[in-house]
């Protein structure tokens, strides 16, 4: 018991027909980010710095749905959101409706550290970003050709779409319906695509932290806020643990999922794995989601009720695992 631990995710709900090369790319990215986090923990960086560092890396890579590579709103624009929480003292910061900030998670951190508030959104968040001098870019930096294609498909299917990196030529709204019976949020899994990215860590002082970042739902209404910036839903950290969730945002919000893990540990005395199992098994009702969590004792847990979740975890005693499927 004790020691550092870390977990990362790139989203829950994966197309079972995902091309092998894409699976490999995803695993490589998860491994790279995990190693960045492990190095940082080994050099005694506090958990709050570690989770920010790792999520920045995930935002910068266009593979997953956050920062560059974010899913597009119904208007074809990017509206990113993120939140971060520091276990000791439960300080937190969140942003929504971010359109030019290269690393939304870092802006969320600044809200936590440099503003009198916990959550800033839209033009107020962008204004704060300028005041703070964070790196900003033109909005088209975040938009990828693949996502432009996915948005078209989603509009054809006329439904909300989670995003995923399936190359356009290998899927279509029609083929999708027949390819697989699996569905998420009412969509065939090959159009449905995750994600959100996140990282949780506990350092060798037993301090926990959590960070989550996303572009949100493909084809979402402009102004739609999901679970990722909602403290207690997509992100939570306290003395006992750090949690980051991914999946159907509305189900995660209703279930106050991240807080739930900590609450059953705190009020029912469950250990991390028991808490995580309980929450995924009992608290999702009809919803689909996954989460990663660490405890102050150096434990790590990942759990999901979807068919897959891009994830990786490692502990100080040498355990390390990266995976996609169950």
């Amino acid at each position: 018991m004790g020691g550092w631990a870390i977990a990362v995710h790139g989203g829950a709900g994966v197309d079972p027909n995902l091309p092998t090369h894409t699976q490999e790319e995803a695993k490589k990215l998860l491994t790279r980010c995990l190693n960045i986090g492990i190095s940082a923990l080994r050099s005694n960086l506090p958990a709050i710095d570690v989770v920010e560092l790792v999520v920045k890396e995930l935002e910068t890579d266009p593979l997953f749905n956050s920062g560059r590579g974010s899913a597009l709103s119904a208007k074809g624009t990017v509206e990113m959101e993120a939140s971060i929480m520091d276990g000791p003292k439960r300080r937190c910061g969140a942003v929504s409706g971010v359109t030019t900030v290269k690393n939304p998670i870092s802006l969320a951190r600044l809200v936590m550290d440099k503003s009198p508030h916990s959550y800033l959104a839209f033009s107020g968040a962008e204004e704060f970003a300028r005041q703070q001098g964070v790196e900003t870019v033109e909005s088209d930096y975040f938009i990828t050709e693949e996502n432009v294609g996915m948005l078209k498909l989603a509009k054809e299917a006329n439904s909300i779409l989670f995003d995923y990196r399936v190359p356009i030529e290998s899927c279509s709204a029609g083929a999708a319906a027949t390819d697989s019976p699996l569905q998420m949020n009412g969509l065939p899994i090959s159009i449905y695509a995750p994600e959100t990215v996140g990282c949780v860590a506990v350092d060798s002082q037993g301090q926990c932290a959590a960070a989550t970042s996303t572009g949100g739902l493909m084809n979402k209404m402009t102004g739609r806020i999901g679970d990722s910036p909602i403290i207690g839903a997509g992100t939570y950290a306290c003395d006992l643990c750090g949690v980051s969730c991914t999946g159907e945002g509305e189900a995660i919000i209703r279930g106050t999922l991240a807080r739930e893990v900590a609450a059953v540990m705190e009020y029912k005395g469950l250990n991390l794995q028991q808490a995580v199992d309980f929450v995924i098994n009992e608290r999702l009702d009809q919803g689909f989601a996954g989460l990663i969590a660490v405890s102050k004792n150096g434990e790590v847990a990942c759990r999901f009720n979807t068919n897959g979740m891009f994830r990786g975890c490692a502990t100080e005693d040498g355990f390390m695992k990266v995976g996609i499927w169950n």
């Binding site: 009198p116 959550y119 959104a121 839209f122 909602i230 029912k268």
Partner: protein
């Protein structure tokens, strides 16, 4: 068993020296809104309809920090937010950054019922309001002289404050300690349960005086300012940042569920043990018709009633507590 209802007009450092001309209209408003809610419950309206009705009324009253009478951002503008949740289904709706919508709580309800989303904000929320044809007005409708003065006061003191400080009379300001800007009020809310155990909660606010443009508080955050499940319905008020950190509304329900505390015990625990003094208040009802109104601030504008005839309207702690 039986119906129960509770509502609040904000918790904070409400001075006992609050002059009658400021206290009486607010008490009358609480009484009026309580009556509306009770009549609706007696007419068998669903708690979701009851809480929306009551909060709409509170939003329309300029003395409370929601809808008309909302406090101002640092730019002198109004950015309103609201949230509604149904206990049995845990369906919910939330809005933030509204500038023209007369009743934010009703827009939150439309988000819940007419979209596949839970939360819409700023331009997107305003656009949805127009699509839905809800009543909108010029932003100046919401701004009151009192709040302009509060903002000036806050800027002078260079602080963010939760409202209900006396905006004028500088002599009074010097005498009373409330002038330090830490008075912590704001937000209106209502919770209700009918005699079938249906529960609902609704909260609405203009936020913090002199808040940064774009600042979102606890009100629209499910689990923080607003929460309902099969056990209880909760609406919180006070310093938003503390309520978020403390996931206040969810915690009341979690303590009941996981530690077997009663509604009263759970609410008392949250305001006395889990959150810093001077920051938080809440109203809550349980599926079995209990009601509680708890706060760790100097006062909380509040009112409640239960089917067995109990009624309470108050500002400061009741003598027996």
């Amino acid at each position: 068993m039986g119906w129960a209802i509770a509502l609040h007009g904000g918790a904070g450092d409400i001075p006992r020296s609050l002059p009658p001309e400021r206290r009486i209209p607010r008490e009358a408003a609480l009484r009026h809104c309580l009556d509306i809610g009770v009549v609706a419950l007696k007419a068998n309206k669903h708690p979701l309809d009851v809480v929306e009705l009551v909060v709409r009324e509170l939003e329309n009253i300029p003395n409370y920090n929601a809808g008309r009478g909302s406090v101002l951002t640092t730019a002198g503008t109004v950015e309103m937010e609201a949230c509604i949740m149904d206990g049995k289904t845990k369906k919910c709706g939330a809005v933030s950054g509204l500038t023209t919508v007369v009743n934010p709580i009703s827009l939150a309800r439309l988000v819940m019922e007419k979209t596949s989303h839970i939360y819409l904000a700023f331009d997107g929320a305003e656009a949805f309001a127009r699509e839905q044809g809800v009543e909108t007005v010029d932003p100046s409708h919401f701004i009151t002289q009192e709040n302009i003065e509060r903002l000036n006061q806050a800027k002078e003191a260079n602080r963010v404050q939760i409202d209900y400080t006396q905006p004028i009379q500088k002599e009074v300001k010097a005498e009373t300690h409330i002038a330090d800007g830490d008075s912590q009020i704001g937000t209106v809310g209502c919770v209700a349960v009918d005699n079938h155990g249906n529960l609902a909660t609704a909260t609405s606010t203009g936020g913090l005086v002199n808040k940064m443009v774009g600042r979102i508080g606890d009100t629209p955050i499910i689990g923080s300012g607003t929460y309902a499940n099969r056990l209880c319905a909760v609406s919180a008020t006070g310093k938003g940042e503390e309520i978020i950190r403390g996931t206040v509304a969810r915690d009341v329900a979690a303590l009941m569920e996981f530690k077997g505390l009663s509604l009263k015990e759970a609410a008392a625990y949250v305001v006395e043990e889990s959150t810093p003094k001077g920051n938080v208040g809440l109203v809550a009802v349980s599926a079995t018709g209990e009601v509680t109104m708890a706060f760790n601030t100097t006062g909380m504008f509040r009112a409640c009633a239960t089917e067995d005839g109990y009624t309470e309207i108050g500002i400061w702690p009741s003598p027996q507590t």
